[in-house]
Amino acid sequence: MDRLFEFMLPEAKSPTADSTDALFHFINEVSLVLLIGITIALIYFAIKYRRRSEDDETPVITHNNTLEITWSVVPLLICFVIFGWGYTGWLNLKSVPDNAYEIQVTGFKWNWSVKYNNGAQTLNEIHVPVDRPVKIVLQSSDVLHSFFVPDYRVKHDVVPGRYTYVWFEANEVGESQVFCTEYCGTDHSDMLAKVIVHTEEDFQTWLEKNGGGVSGTPVEQGEQLVQLQGCTTCHSDDGSRLIGPSFKGLWGSEETLTDGSTVTVDENYLRESILNPGAKIVESYDNVMTPYEGRISDEEITNIIEYLKTLK
């Protein structure tokens, strides 16, 4: 039976899972005992007291105080235990250790953008050191999302306009899946990420190598930026149609908008479409892109435009 319950949960890879798993098993065991009892009673009564004749007479049993108080109070006490257990476990999930390593994660349709304390940036990959508490500070730049790592039993909604957080302490090197669990539109189910757990040494090396963010010529920086900002989730660079128009051949082309007017793709159109995408939507596409106003600097926009010019 224990093996069945263990099969139901993914392998626990953080101490934040301990209390949750123990309570999960406890409730399952109590429930199973009660369910078996109920089922046996149902079947036993149905057979033993089956109708033998339409003139059967049944005893008048209206109530039984002892019995009724027992089956009210005992479940109530069990519920108090479950409440207390769940509450303490949850307090632990809320109490971040003081020495936690902090990482900033921003959810937006449909990617996770990750920033580290030395300026390193990744998209949909959260690199963390093993055996060290990590605090993920969450924010959203569009609608609600929810950050869920089953292996660590942590989840929190990512709410526009406020910060939320989760913490965990990965206890083995490897990868863990991150899901978005608050419905956020077309590609909600593809809004995935990985927590990549390194040894402390490897993590420091990785951090140094990626510190300072993007680098190189403006075009090279632009190419890195369209990856990091998640642009390529919806805009291909090879002409294939995704959620938004492809970048290939975009520069200098003439596009028909949803209101029937046309526009030539130049610097100002691209800039407007990054900061306020809803202003001019290309025909046959939906207005679903997150505005980048406040999330990207003028220099970064310029670099991205320089890169787009090269995609002929």
Partner: protein, 584 residues
Amino acid sequence: MATAEVSNTKTLKVQRFKPADNPTNTYLTDEKGVWAWMTTVDHKKIGIMYLVAVAIFFAVGGALALLLRTELMTPAKTFIEADTYNQLFTLHGAIMVFFVLVPSIPAALGNFIMPMQLGAKDVAFPKLNLASFYIYVAGAIFTFIALAQHGLDTGWTFYTPYSTESSSSVIWVTMGVFILGFSSILTGTNFITTIHKMRAPGITWGKLPLNVWALYATSIIQVLATPVLAITVLLLTMERWLGFGIFDPALGGDPVLFQHFFWFYSHPAVYIMIVPGFGIISEVISTFSKKTVFGYWAIALSSLAIAFIGFLVWGHHMFTSGQSAVATTVFSFLTFLVGIPTGIKIFNWIATLYKGSIKMDTPMIYVFIFLFLFSIGGFTGIMLGALSVDIHLHDTYYVVAHFHYVMMGGTLIALLAGLHFWWPKMTGKLYNEKLAKIASVFIFVGFNVTFLPQFVMGAQGMPRRYYNYVDQFTAFHQTSTIGSYLLGVGFLIILYYLMHSLFKGAKSPANPWGSRGLEWQATSPPDFHNFDHTPVVIHGPYDYHQPMEEFQLGLAVDTNGHDSETAKEVVDKEREQWKNYSLG
């Protein structure tokens, strides 16, 4: 006490009215024709019209579910696009909740049966009852307009700011839900008044059928909670349409506030859906055990307790939302309290079976299925109420499985029990018992094959509302899809034999189950005015130790059902006398 009752009935010239097994005049033979049906104020006809509407919506919602399950056969695209999928699950949820589960038992079966159980000729406000039905239709039309336009892709929960920004036809649906709410409020008001004012002589609060107690508790929730939903969708509409900043942070609003508003209605709405089911279970289990219900008052009052506590637990939908820690703690605690009255009911029903005379006809089979499935729904609800565990399980398939065990394994199975129980009363026809039992096996097996795997994959981390999923969940999803097809077959069998019964079924006697319920002391199908006399009740509705004759008493009325002044005087006088026997 018994002697006192007998002497009273004699002085009031109460006589026995044995219902005829072959009635010539019934509600189906009076007022025939489409126009007569459409303008009827007869609670029975209105109940049937609701039943047909609910069945149509259930077929639509069920077909959507099968499309969803088919898409989930493979981890990536199977046959529809992501945007279509998102619309399908939204519509499945919205249709099943607002157009099927909420009106199903109270407005369809409740409308038909409840006035008869009270010995009344109709509900208190028959015209209002008809208005409720047309308001429901108007709400449905708005929703269909939305479908014809851009559909709806927000999930049935309409969470902001996604619903503020969505390019689908949110306003049409929110207006549909707004209108629909009035139908629910009016039905609730009507029922409360009916139960207070229209009980036949002798029906004290202590002799009220448990089905009526359940509908009473439900009506209270409908009247108190539904206006909050109306306000919420109105605010959402104002935000979308006029740009008022209420929920969208971009306009200075708070998205968590929307969740509070939404669940303030939608959690009590869960009890609007399930509590009427409890009523049916009590009626059926007592009839098919030929036995007094164990713990009458515990079952009756626990419905009211659920109605009350149900208002104080909405925050348990929001443990991960960012609501305050104090709120989260309090909501978790209260959630466990609402579980207790539900558990009490289950134990009482099982105790009713003890030393009964149990006949496993189709309605009783559905009661057994209900007790098994709903128990699982309850236990997994306790699991989700536990704070730390809910953090892991929230918004996964575990939650999906849980609420299907409660809403489908509970409400819908209870509806099937009630439909099979009252079908002979409503139509005057019997259905094919053998096919009905075969269908119930399909429903039971199909249901568990569909939803048990969802508990496991949910606990393993599979999030809900996912069009694509990671490969490890494939086997669970495929099992679940196969189960949903079995369920579909089960419902088709039910449709077949019920239609067959309607047109070619054998004639039903007035009381095929030997029930002591007052509705069974009318003919099948009932007279246009339910009874052509004023029923007089001296025993409780579950007093199977009393002879059947004593459940068929009444006062003759000379005006074919319409209360004459003299009859009214007799009844009023009688009511005064019976007041002394309250809680008897």
